[in-house]
Each structure stands twice: as C-alpha cells, then as structure tokens.
C-alpha cells in the first residue's frame, strides 16, 4: 500500500516536473544565512580556509573566520564557496531552439543602426535553458541583441525571476557594435587556381565603419542641440553612451577589427569593451595602454589558423593577464548552451592562468566590464549576496557540482528541465 501511494505521489510529481512549472523563483531573503567550514574564494585574490560567510537582507554581511550572528547554518565542510558566476555576453532568454524553429528566436533584429533596440524587453525568464545555467553556478547574464552593425543595448539580468521587469539587474549597460569582417576573401583549398572573387572586403569594412562614425557624429551633434523639432529615437538611445553611463561593446576578433575598436574609444571619448577577442593576445599591449577590456568568447575554439599554436585559445587568458589587460571569460558555445563557463576557466588554468585569476575572469572582472562591480562580482561586505557553493573545485568538471546558490540572498532552486527528465526516467527504470 505504501508503495502504491509512493508511486501515485511520484506520478503526480513527474507530471508537474515535466513542465518545469514547480521551479519557483525564490522570495526575498528573510533569515540570515551562515555558511561555515568551507573554503571561501572571494575573487579579490583571497582564499579563506574554514571561512564563515554571513548573508543578511540579500547582502553579504560579513566574511571571515567567525561570526556572532545567528541564523540558518549551512555546513560547507569540504566545499568551496565562490561569488556567483556571470555570463558576460549571451543570447540567453532570446533564443530557445537554435535551428529550424524560427518562432522561438528573438535575438537577431533587422537593420544596421538599431541603437534603440533593447534586448531586455524580449528576455524570456521562462526559457528552459536558464535553469540549467543556475545549477552550474551562473547567476547573472548580460543579454546581447545581435544583428548587423549597431545592434542595440544589452542588459544584465539575474537568473531567478518571474518576468523581465523582475529579472533586470542593470538595464541597458552596453551598446553593441559588430565590426565588419575586414579580411580579404578566402583562398579555397580545392580551388587554388581561382581568382579572388568579390571585392576588397577590407575596404568595404572600412567604409562601413566610416558610416558608423558619421552616424555617431550626427548623434552627438543632435544630442548637443538644445531645441529639437523632431525626436530621433536612434540618436536619443545613444545619450547614455556619450555620457559614459553605457559602454560600447565592440564585437571584434581579428587584430584589425580590434584596432578599430580602440579607434572608436579614442575618437569618441567613450568606454569601449572588446567582445570576442580571438586575436586579442596579438594586440594585448595596445589594449592595456588604452585601458580596453576584453570579453573572451572563444575559449574552447580551434586556433584561428593552421599555423597558430595549437593551444592558442586556451592560453590567451594567461597572455592577457600577463599583459595586464582586464578580461572576462565567457561561454558562447551554443550546442552545450553556456553552462560550461567554469570549464572554460579551468582550461585557462591548465594553460597558465592562476586559479584565483581564473575565478576573477568569471566574476569580478565581468562585473567591472559590465558596470556592476559595485553591486556584485566578489565576496565583499555590502555587495549583493550572489553566492554559489560547489562540492569541489569549480573549474574541474568531475567535482564541479553546485549544491547551493543564492541570488541576492535568496536560496534558489537548482532543479531544471534536465534534472526532472533524469528523475522521470530513473523512475521508469528503477535505477539510482
């Protein structure tokens, strides 16, 4: 009888689980949470063994070796405590099914000058992908609009929300620009004898960039005009950029594209971030001199060229670190859908980056680049209680199992569609 009841219960549980509808966003933190006995990685460079971390009213109340506070105690013996990871550039919540289901996609808008486009308004908090990131320790994401040239504003969202108004963490923090390809057409390996085909892509790229520059100049002039007869929404949308309340995220991979990004920073006196940055190691010193940070998209990528060092993308972070460039490590791998972010950092560690530096690349560096470092990105008193606890080394997959996660002190549900389907079929087969 007991068994039957159990089965009935399980049955209903399964039905509910399938829809992912019983994974509720958590309410505001009420009780003080004290995380004890774990190793705290603060992302400021410090590692506190047997540390005590107190979360109160959604904020980090204290971090150290002891506390006099009382509250719910989490014993983290043998575990590691980190700031929540930040996905620095993504189409999360805008793209559901990668290919073949156009209706599920809202990440790519038409038009060259989409400065007034905002990713935030299309961000779908009910995307099935989101929960699979939380359970791997990713708590914040910068959601980018994609497109042709100027693609619009990204916003930072927290990944435990009912809707986008609820999710917003920092609205419209970045304006996004794609630098054109700027490379001559390929030489085909089957067709060695063929002519160049097509025009001069470098020149085409440069003229497109010049058009963007003219657009920005027009915008600046417009914004300086006191009395306007007509409101230009595209130009209005650029006001925060010129006032340095927003950064220009320039998507650039090869060195010539990155040089263009630096040029934008100088010409318009704006804050520029390079996104992508495959060849950033080639221009690292220049990036450092101009204080341009980099979001590295392409960690688990092939080298750009046959002749490149076979481990180039793996060691690029260590090279940027050495050159003093501020950088974040991202994950834009659309087949595994961004949840391998910590392992990208793990690879960087295997190829020369220090573990705490690698942690910074996923947390405080990303926060600085996204303009949210006052609120989050490290375990420091007063910051938002965005915290994850891992069974072991976060960067090494076999031990990287997140047991607890807090967004603004709210303990979030780590289930997701995949864990639910896992349960469903464990149930079917009666296996552990």
């Amino acid at each position: 009888m007991k068994k039957i009841i159990l089965y009935i219960v399980l049955f209903f549980v399964s039905i509910n689980l399938l829809a992912q509808d019983d994974i509720y966003p958590a309410g505001p933190q009420k009780e003080t949470i004290i995380i004890k006995n774990g190793t705290i990685h603060t992302a400021t460079g410090a590692v506190i063994e047997n540390g005590v971390l107190v979360l109160k009213n959604g904020k980090i109340f204290s971090v150290g070796k002891a506390t006099s506070e009382s509250g719910t105690i989490i014993d983290a013996t043998g575990k590691h405590i980190y700031p929540g990871m930040i996905l620095a550039g993504t189409d999360l919540g805008l793209k559901e099914i990668g290919s073949g289901v156009r209706g599920s996609n809202d990440y790519n808008e038409l038009g060259d000058y989409n400065t007034s486009i905002r990713s935030l308004v299309a961000y779908n908090t009910d995307s099935r992908v989101i929960n699979t990131l939380r359970s791997n320790g990713i708590l914040l994401a910068n959601v980018d609009p994609q497109g042709s040239l100027l693609t619009g504003s990204s916003s930072v969202v927290q990944l435990d929300a009912w809707n986008w108004e609820d999710a917003v963490y920092q609205a419209d923090n970045g304006m996004h620009l794609n630098i054109p390809r700027m490379m001559q057409p390929f030489r085909r390996f089957f067709m060695m004898q063929q002519g160049t085909g097509g025009g001069n892509l470098v020149q085409e790229g440069i003229s497109k960039i010049e058009e963007v520059e003219r657009f920005l100049k027009d915008a600046k002039a417009y914004l300086n005009t006191a009395r306007k007869t007509e409101i230009n929404l595209k130009f209005e949308a650029l006001r925060p950029l010129f006032e340095k309340k927003q950064k220009l995220f320039v998507h650039a991979d090869i060195s010539r594209q990155i040089l263009m990004a630096i040029d934008f920073a100088k010409k318009f006196d704006i804050d520029v971030v390079v996104v992508g940055g495959s060849d950033s190691y080639l221009v690292a010193d220049l990036l450092k001199q101009n204080n341009i940070p980099v979001i590295l998209n392409a960690m688990h990528n092939l080298p750009v060229l046959d002749d490149d060092d076979i481990d180039q993308p793996f060691k690029t972070p260590a090279m940027l670190q050495k050159a003093g460039v501020l950088f974040a490590i991202n994950d834009n791998h659309s087949n595994s859908r961004y949840r391998n972010l910590p392992f990208n950092a793990g690879t960087a560690v295997a190829y020369g980056l220090d573990k705490e530096q690698a942690l910074q690349a996923l947390t405080i560096n990303a926060a600085k680049i996204l303009g949210i470092d006052k609120k989050t990105g490290s375990i420091e008193v007063g910051k938002d209680a965005n915290i994850i606890i891992s069974q072991g080394d976060l960067f090494d997959m076999k031990s990287s199992v997140i047991t607890d996660a807090f967004i603004q002190g709210r303990k979030i549900d780590l289930n997701n569609k995949q864990t639910q389907l896992y349960e469903r079929y464990r149930h079917r087969y009666g296996i552990n």
């Binding site: 750009v304 002749d307 960067f395 995949q418 464990r426």
Partner: protein, 1022 residues
C-alpha cells in the same frame, strides 16, 4: 587496255600529290596551288632530344618534312638561310580546350539548403547523370580560334590535344594543328583521347555533390558500361553515353586532377578497372613525389605557379598560411621533382593566367632544376608518344608533319626568341623584331648640309642605343621589323647604356629642335635612310656593322642556391621533416589506467615494443628501450572518437536519400591540421563518418592519427567496415529555407526509405544468388547486402525516441542489427529497447537545444544508458571538442555519478567495442596495439594535458617537441614573408592577400565553434 591500267596504277602510286590536290571546296579566285617547297639551310637543327645537327638543311614540301641533313638545297625549293638559327620541332600541348566553346553553367549545383535536381537536363538518349558526357566528341565543336592559335604559337606550340573541359566523363578530343586554315586541314586525329575528372562541371544535377560521390559515380559508370556492352539491356534502351564510353575505351584516357591526393585517387580508380590514366596534375606533386611515382601514371603538368601575394601588412600576412607560402616558393620545382623521380610527364600551357608566362615559367622550372632535355621531351616526344602521334609530330624526321620553330638560339635561354613557328609547312611569324639581333657596334655616317659626320653607334639588347662622339649620348632607338628609327641629341649628356624601352615616351626629355632624327631601313649589316639634323635640315645616313660589343653575350643563369622550404609530411605547418619511427619505449613508474579488470595500477611500468604493448609490471628492466619517466603521471590507452569528420575532403553526399555507394575512404585528407591538434588531446583512433544529409549515407573510414602518413597510411587496416545512417531533421532537411523536394520530408517517410532500400537489397541479393549473368553490379545495394550479411555495420545518427524505435523495427523485420546509435540524445527514453535490440550507443556529454529534436536532450543521458547496461561512448562530432574528449567523459561523473573508471572507458574501451576493434585497442593489455597517452594529470581532470601520444609504438605527439615545431613555423613564415616581399619589390605580379581558409567539415547538424577562418563544407559545390 593493259597499258591504260598500268598508267592508272602509275598515276595512283606516283601521283598521290596530284590526286590529293583535289578538294571539294570551290575557289572564289584564280586557282593558286602551291607546293610549299622550302629549304632551310645553315641551321642548327634539333631533330629530337638526342640528335642535333649543326649547319644542316631541312627540306619541307607540301606540309611535310622531306629531308634533313648535311644536304644541298633542292634547286626548285625556296631557300631560307637560317644561319645562326635553331630549328626545333614545335611543342605539343595535350591538355587544351583550344577552339572549343567554354561550357557555361546555368545555375548553381548542390547546396545543402538549396533546391534539388534529381535527373539530367541533357536532352537525348544519354546517361542518367548529367556529368557523364562520354557522348561528346570535341571534334564536333571545334573551330579555329585565330587569336588563341597565335598566342599558343608564340609560346612555341604547334599541336594541341583539345577537349571540352566539362564533366566527370568528358568525351573525346581531337589533336589539331595550330594553323589558321580550314578546320578540315588541321585535324591530325579526330578522336585522340578520352577525358575524365572528378568535377561535375556545368552539370546542374544534384548528384554527385561531393568528391566521394564523384568517385562512386565514376566507378559505377565503369560497371554500367561493361554491363551495357555485354547485355544490351532492353530496359535501359539506347544509352549513347555508355556506348561512347565503351567506344573510347581504347583511346588514351586523360584524367584532370587538381592536386596530389586527387592524382592518387584517380589512379586508384583506374587501377580498379584496369585503366592507366594519364593524369593532368595540380602542380603540387613534389609534395608527395614517392606516392606520385608509385602510381606509375604518365602526367601532364602545368606551369601555373602561385602568385606573389602582398604581405606587406602583417595584419594581412598573418592569414597566409605557411603551406601556401611554401608552395609559392617550391611550385617551380615541381617539374624537376618529376624528372628526378623518373616520372614520365608532358608539360602543358593550361591553367596559366597569362599564356605569355609559359616560356618564362618554363625557364623558371629549369632554373629550379629541370634539365633542358627533360623539358624538351615533355613538350614534344612525351605528349606525342602518349597520344600515339609520334609518327606525325614531336620530332623532325622526313615524312613527319612540318611543324617546327625557328629561334635565335637555344630555346631555353632567356635571351632566345622564337622567330617563326611553322605549322604544317606554313610560316607564321612570332617575333621578327626580337629575332633580328641588332646588337653590336656600328659606324654611323650622317651626310647633310654640314658635310659628313661619323659617330660610333652601340646597340644593345635590340632596344638600347648610345651614340658615341666626344661624349656618350643616349639615343632613342626603335627598330620595327625592317624599319629603324633613331634620334639623339648631340648636346645631351648621357650615361652608358641607360635602360630604356623602345616605345617609352622618354623622347620628350630631349629638348625639341636639338635632336637629330633618323629614319631608315635595315638591309642586314647596313642600315640606310634619311633624317633631319638638329636644325631641321634634311640629311641621309648609313650605319654599318663593325664588330660585336665587348663583354658577356649571355647573362649566365643563376641557379638557385639559397635554401628553399623543406618538404615536410604533411606539407603545411607542424609537419614532420622526417616521419617519426616506431620505438621501443618504457614508461617508468606511471599510474596506469588499464581499462582491464586490474583497473588503475600505480607505480607501474609499461613497455612498448614492435608497435605493441609488450609488458606491464613493476620495475621492468630497460631492455634497450627509450625510457620515459612517468612518475606522477598517468598512462592510458589512446582516446577513440566514434564520431568524427576530420581528415576528409568531403563528408556529405546529400544529393540522394540513399548513397551507400560513397566511401569516406575515397577522399581522405591526411594533411588536416586537426589530426595533429587531436593528437595533442590524446586521440589515437577516429571513425570518420559520412554526414547526416541523407537517410542512408556513405561508408565510414576508421583511421589512426598517424600524422604525416599518406591517405592510405592513416587508415586503420583490418577493421570491420561501417556505414553511416541518419534519421530526423537533417534527412528531412528541416533547416533549409527553400522547401524540401527530396523524399522524405517526415519521419514517416524516413522509415519507408529504409524499408525500401533493404527490400531492394534483398531482391538484388536474390537475383545475384540465382546465378543470372545479366545482373548489373550495383554499388549502392552491394553495401546494403553486406549489412544484411553482417559484413558491414551501421552507425546511425538519431535523436528522438520515435525514430529510434522505427529503425529498430525495420532492422528486425529485415534481419539486421543496428550496431551503433550515434548522438542518440533521447536514448535514455528507450534505453531498454535499445538494450534488447543489442546496439551500442555513442552520445554527447551535454549538448542540447540547438534544434527542435534535441530539446529533450539531457546531460544525464550517458549515465542512464550506462546504468541500463548499454555500451556507452562519448564522441566528438567536432574537430575542437575531440581534443578534450577526456573532459567530456568526466562530465558523466558530474551528471549522473558514473564511476571514474567507467567514465574513462566511454572514450576508450567502449568505442573500441562499438567499432569491433577491442581486440586491438582500447585498453592497456599485453599484445594490444601500442596506442597510448601519457598525461600530466588524471585524464578525467580538466588540468590534464597529453605529454606524449603514441600510435603503434610511434610517438606522433611530444609536447616538448611541439615547442620546436612552433619555433620553426615562426622562422619559416618570416623567411618566406621576407622573400615574398622582395619578390614583390622586384616587380613580380602581386595580388592582394588571400587568406588560407581552414575547412572544417561536419554533419551540418548544429552550429559549431571553430576558428574564424572556417569554411562551411557546403560552400564547396562541386
């Protein structure tokens, strides 16, 4: 009566000229028959590669050579004095499309997402496939192209074998002479050779869409033609293409290739069907000259060297690969390599951007080591012999066609010019001006109002002149055939031998009115004419040759002495200068992950000998082995990737839903850099699978990652053959925007495609077994019959539970087993049924959500299937991820709690089992292949790096030596960039940089993260 008959016979015998003088063509003029009777006297006559006659005479009549030797000129012949001249047989180009219209393609070919054309658009009773055009006889299309003929004659050619460069079977081509007479008189042989290639040319039919598809079509057509000949099958009806194929089988068979691997591929197809192709090479044969020589094929090679690229900007130069730059440097050595290796080859003027570069490029080949005699043979005797026309052209012999060149000297010397090119006894001028050597010192006498003035006139290089009075004066000098014009200023200060082109307009530098201007006629050693002096008064003048100029006559050709790029295996970056060799290796004191019941052994030694694992134990004696200290390190079997798409030139033959006839093994690319990159990730064996474009794809090829081996050398020999199947979205072409026309369009249809294919295979097998003699061998069904008989095994791309069950049902109905379900992301839903059927499974660790059919994919899939007792593999399907398969395996620990030992087996022993090679590889066991990896850390950790990757006891990857390779890449790149810049500066034709793309092929299944220079496989439409 008798006398009459005798007379008639006499006329017939002796009077052939009289009879043959008749033609059907009416003359719109007064008849003007000529015999063309010439005697070329005092010439150096190069009869052939072996015989040169000095000061000899050649007699030509009626377009034929009548006599050659130290003979007197016949009295009734026109005598042409060739003193100082050389006479050569003119050249033969056996790979031309001269006089044949260039075929135009009406629209694009196969595109994975594009529209499809299933049948041929060619009208008439021809072959089913539009690329089989054996019925084309280029003689029917031929017409004289006077302008092109002149261009070819100017480079020394007199005879060409022409054809229409279109299709896989291209039909026949005639040998024609490069005259400008009626076509009727120019045909040496109407069907001299048959032509083939792997390129379908203008065919708009979808099939074939890949290199391996082209190979399959060619092979099947061999079979079809033979079947057609033997059976005259009623249901086939008349097939002109197959008839023509059979009729041209006895002709020389010329195969157009594009590169060294295609050369070898073509030769293999020829070998299979008893044909020795004459291969028109791609110019990179030197990179694999031993393999090329082993084909025993005669070659036609071109002199189409890569252009100099503008590498001045480092941002541009970065994208030009070492491989391309090395080829740029070494391409002119290709003919020399062919000669050294004893390969029979002809040289063609095909593929040149500018035909005028032919002779200069030929000289470049000679500078790079080609002997003059080999060059000469390659342009005369070799092509003539290959085409069986050596009795008519290719040397100077009485009775042969009077096709010859008159040049000013040795044809291979830089300063030699071709004066005339005679075709069939008819004279064509090539370079009269350049031919007349004016160089020398002349006495110039001006007779004018001021009396007679004498100067010394020095002419150099036919276009530079100095007039020497008190000073040396630079003159403007312009010889124009028979006419001479000369001007100089008596006041101008000049430098000796200022370089000036004859028609450059530097005359403007002379102040007007001060120049003495002369115009006259060249009478040989005396020039004579009229002119005006500096004051405008008329004068007469003569210039008389006095003596030759002092100094060197010919610039001595500099042989290239500077170090050239090394040929490495592979030819591009990270290649081996010398192939690594099998060694006896002792790994000391390692943690050994055996994958056997011993599990992990600590502090253990492993000895590799003769390519096998020889001994495992503690404190093994050195036994002369190379000892590698493995203390603190991990020794494991090499990683085996069940699903890979590297190392091949094409992956998908998606033009039909069933293409079991195509074979990945027909188009291996052993130079794919990803082989080396994956060695650095510990991979030693990969199954290279056909893509997922269609339901029944092509035959797979198992390889070992022997970096530097050739396309046969990388194959894993002796393994069971596999074939790729696919289900679901890709085969119903979901992602394409233009609508799908290819059956099937639903999973319902996919199931029927499978059932239909196996039903046809069963019927085919029954027909074969019945002993009927008229059964056509069908390569497509043959592969399916192998499946039915457990001689070929299926790896099936699959995602959702419905399609998995559907295939299992078809398999069980037709009595075969699905060996492996690959991807199988919903395998966890039907793991019990898969287990019951008995399949292996091979999946991704954590991919999902990239399309509708993977929205229920879960990272726990592998763990569930493993716990359900399936043999689970983790595969890559991704050139990048394959470098980290050990980490992918480790994810099954995180997702689902698989034990460490079982997790590691998913990328080693389990794929070995799935591929039926577990007796050879997959674990550390005495007697198995020495395919091992030494890791810096536990390979299930993200921090682990492969330090050594060993295949068959040969170290193919050594992380320390990798540093040396990087260094040499940097140095060699720098040297070549500098050399290219210098070449640019010294005036070489220079083009903008052409980035070298990395071509990464895959299923077209999902977006993948590759380098920036990735080219999608489907950009390449063949």
């Amino acid at each position: 009566m008798k006398i009459k008959l005798l007379l008639a016979i006499t006329i017939l015998l002796c009077g052939t000229t009289i009879v043959s003088a008749q033609t059907t063509f009416p003359v719109n003029d007064v008849a003007d028959a000529r015999t063309g009777y010439y005697a070329f006297t005092n010439a150096t006559i190069v009869k052939d590669g072996k015989t040169t006659l000095d000061n000899a005479t050649m007699v030509v009549k009626d377009g034929k050579i009548q006599a050659i030797g130290k003979i007197a000129a016949p009295e009734d012949a026109v005598v042409i004095d060739c003193k100082g001249r050389f006479i050569y047989p003119s050249f033969i180009d056996m790979f031309s499309d001269y006089g044949i219209p260039v075929p135009q393609r009406t629209s694009g070919g196969f595109n994975f997402f594009g529209p499809q054309q299933f049948t041929s658009n060619t009208k008439g009773p021809v072959n089913w496939n539009q690329a089989i055009r054996s019925e084309v006889n280029a003689i029917d299309l031929f017409s004289v192209d006077a302008a092109k003929a002149k261009q070819l004659r100017d480079q020394g050619f007199g005879t060409v074998l022409t054809h229409q460069k279109d299709g896989i079977a291209r039909g026949t081509g005639p040998v024609v002479l490069l005259g400008d007479e009626k076509e009727n008189l120019l045909i040496l042989k109407d069907k001299a050779a048959a032509f083939y290639s792997f390129s379908k040319g203008t065919s708009t039919q979808s099939y074939p869409s890949s290199i391996m598809g082209s190979v399959a079509l060619l092979r099947q057509t061999f079979i079809d033609a033979d079947w057609y000949k033997k059976n005259k099958p009623q249901k086939e009806g008349l097939n002109l293409s197959l008839e023509a194929w059979n009729n041209s089988a006895s002709l020389p068979q010329v195969f157009e290739s594009t590169d060294k691997w295609t050369d070898i591929r073509a030769d293999r197809v020829g070998d299979e069907f008893g044909v020795q192709y004459i291969i028109k090479g791609g110019g990179d044969e030197y990179q694999r000259i031993k393999e090329i020589a082993a084909t025993k094929a005669p070659f036609v090679i071109t002199l189409n060297y890569p252009e100099t690229q503008n590498v001045a900007d480092p941002a541009d130069a970065r994208f030009v690969s070492l491989k391309d730059m090395k080829h740029w440097e070494l391409a002119p050595s290709n003919p020399a390599y062919m000669e050294k290796e004893g390969i029979s080859f002809a040289i063609s003027a095909a593929d040149l951007r500018d035909i005028k570069s032919f002779l200069p490029n030929l000289r470049k080949a000679i500078e790079n080591g080609l002997s003059e005699s080999a060059a000469f043979d390659a342009l005369t005797k070799t092509p003539a012999t290959l085409l069986k026309i050596y009795d008519q052209v290719g040397s100077l012999e009485p009775g042969k066609t009077a096709n010859f060149l008159i040049s000013t000297g040795n044809i291979f010397d830089e300063n030699t010019t071709i004066v005339e090119n005679w075709v069939q006894g008819k004279q064509y001028d090539v370079n009269k001006t350049g031919a007349r050597n004016l160089e020398g010192q002349y006495k110039l006498t001006l007779n004018g109002t001021e009396g007679s003035n004498n100067y010394i006139l020095a002419i150099k290089k036919n276009n530079q002149a100095n007039v020497i009075a008190k000073d040396t004066l630079t003159a403007q000098f312009k010889p124009d055939g028979k006419l001479i014009s000369l001007s100089f200023s008596a006041k101008q200060q000049g430098k000796t031998f200022l370089t000036q082109k004859p028609d450059s307009s530097s005359a403007g530098r002379l102040s007007s009115g001060s120049a003495i201007r002369l115009s006259g006629v060249d009478y040989g050693n005396i020039w004579e004419g009229v002119g005006t002096d500096a004051n405008g008064n008329t004068l007469t003048w003569t210039a008389t040759f006095e003596k030759e100029l002092p100094g060197k006559k010919d610039t001595i050709r500099k042989k290239t002495t500077a170090a050239l790029a090394k040929i490495t295996y592979p030819f591009g970056s990270y290649g081996n200068e010398k192939m690594p060799e099998q060694e006896t290796i002792l790994f000391k004191n390692a943690t050994v992950i055996t994958n056997e019941k011993e599990g992990r052994l600590t502090g253990t030694d492993v000895l590799l000998r003769n390519g096998k694992i020889a001994q495992i134990g503690k404190n093994l004696p050195t036994q002369g082995a190379r000892v590698i200290d493995a203390t603190g390190k991990y020794l494991t079997p090499g990683i085996i990737d069940e699903h890979s798409h590297i190392a091949a030139f094409s992956i998908n033959e998606g033009a039909q839903s069933v293409t079991s006839e195509v074979r990945i093994g027909d188009n291996m690319n052993p130079e794919d850099i990803n082989i080396y990159r994956q060695l650095s990730g510990g991979v030693t064996t990969s199954q290279i699978l056909h893509g997922s474009a269609n339901t029944i794809g092509g035959q797979a090829q198992l390889i070992k990652l022997r970096w530097g081996a050739d396309d046969e050398g990388i194959k894993f020999k002796g393994a069971d053959p596999f074939i790729k199947f696919a289900l679901g979205e890709n085969v119903k072409r979901t992602a394409q925007t233009t609508g799908n026309a290819r059956f099937p369009d639903t999973r319902m249809g996919v199931e029927e495609v499978l059932a239909d294919a196996f039903q046809r295979a069963k019927d085919y097998e029954a027909a074969l077994k019945s002993g009927r003699k008229d059964v056509r061998r069908d390569l497509e069904l043959e592969a399916l019959v192998e499946i039915l008989n457990n001689r070929r095994f299926i790896t099936c791309h699959s995602y959702v539970q419905s399609e998995i069950l559907a295939l299992i049902n078809v398999a069980e109905k037709y009595g075969f087993k699905v060996n492996t379900f690959t991807h199988i992301l919903e395998g966890y839903k039907v793991a019990d049924r898969i287990k019951q059927h008995g399949s292996n499974v091979s999946t991704f660790s954590d991919w999902w959500a990239y399309k509708q059919e993977v929205k229920d994919a879960i990272a726990y899939n592998a763990a569930i299937m493993q716990k359900m007792g399936l043999n689970v593999c983790i595969n890559s399907d991704d050139a990048e991820m394959a470098r980290r398969l050990n980490q992918e395996a480790a994810k099954t620990i995180k997702y689902g709690g698989v034990s460490e030992d079982e997790a590691f087996k998913m990328v080693t022993l389990n794929p070995a089992k799935a591929l039926h090679i577990a007796d050879r590889v997959g674990s550390i066991k005495v007697g198995k292949d020495a395919d091992v990896v030494l890791w810096s850390h536990d390979p299930l950790s993200i921090y682990a790096k492969a330090l050594y990757t060993v295949v068959d006891g040969t170290i193919f990857f050594d992380r320390e030596k990798d540093e040396d390779r990087r260094k040499s890449i940097r140095e060699e790149r720098n040297r070549l960039i500098q050399k290219m810049l210098a070449s640019s500066r010294s005036g070489a034709f220079t083009v903008p940089v052409r980035p070298t793309a990395q071509v990464v092929l895959h299923c077209e299944d999902h977006e993948q993260n590759e380098g920036i220079l990735e080219v999608d496989s489907y950009d390449e439409s063949l």
